[in-house]
Symmetry: C2
Subunit: 118 residues, 2 copies
Amino acid sequence: MTLPHPTADQISLPIVLAVLGDPTRLAIVRFLASKEGVPMNCGKFLDLASKTNLSYHLAKLREAGVTRTEAVGTSRLITLRRDDLDKRFPGLLDSVIAAAGEDKALPMVGTVDSEIDA
Amino acid sequence: MTLPHPTADQISLPIVLAVLGDPTRLAIVRFLASKEGVPMNCGKFLDLASKTNLSYHLAKLREAGVTRTEAVGTSRLITLRRDDLDKRFPGLLDSVIAAAGEDKALPMVGTVDSEIDA
DNA sequence: TCCTTAGTTCAAAAGTTATTGAACAATTGG
DNA sequence: CCAATTGTTCAATAACTTTTGAACTAAGGA
């Protein structure tokens, strides 16, 4: 049950940048980074967009190689591909995440605390 | 003769990422970085796109706060806004440039040596 | 089995970005 | 002044991206 992902060397810089250039997707990545190690399912992001729209954005992130999505039952477990991104583009993800962390203009995942905790 | 630029604090992360997510613009930035300190005019980028199209892409870079454009005579002198970008998004520009430097898939400025030198 | 939960797919609509060519403006050199 | 050089603007078009809702699949629990 693994969805199509690019291999590490297929990850393209302009595509990664373009994919991160969308506020919704950047918010997803920031949240994944803030909970690194803990795989998230799509539902965690429902305050960013509709279910259908999330499916679209999460597919973009996966196809760009930014996230890894594993199907487990009816759920999708989503993680950052930090290892591969760091290998391909050293320092990029960290600086993006740090910059995004400061950004009050980005949409927020889990403003309601009850939605954050496992 | 200064064209409209955002102030440092108006520079937005998603906009910068989206702007850098275009291969033509990323090639421009990579070239500017490789010649840092030396202001370039638009003509330097004519092997990337048409004059009209360059005008469009260079305006995008300027409006995003990635470059600074100064009008001198009929020329535009274009520089990277490294100071402002480093202040706003520490490490971001460097990691993007380093990653772009390795990228054989990006269009190249000045493959013909005669077009590079001052 | 039936219902719910989790997420996808599809096609349409809406919105945005990129590219083009023709016409324009401004400066510089002869 | 005239012509060349440098780059912009405009409108059109092409090409993509995002968003939507309805219909769907697949797994899990009662």
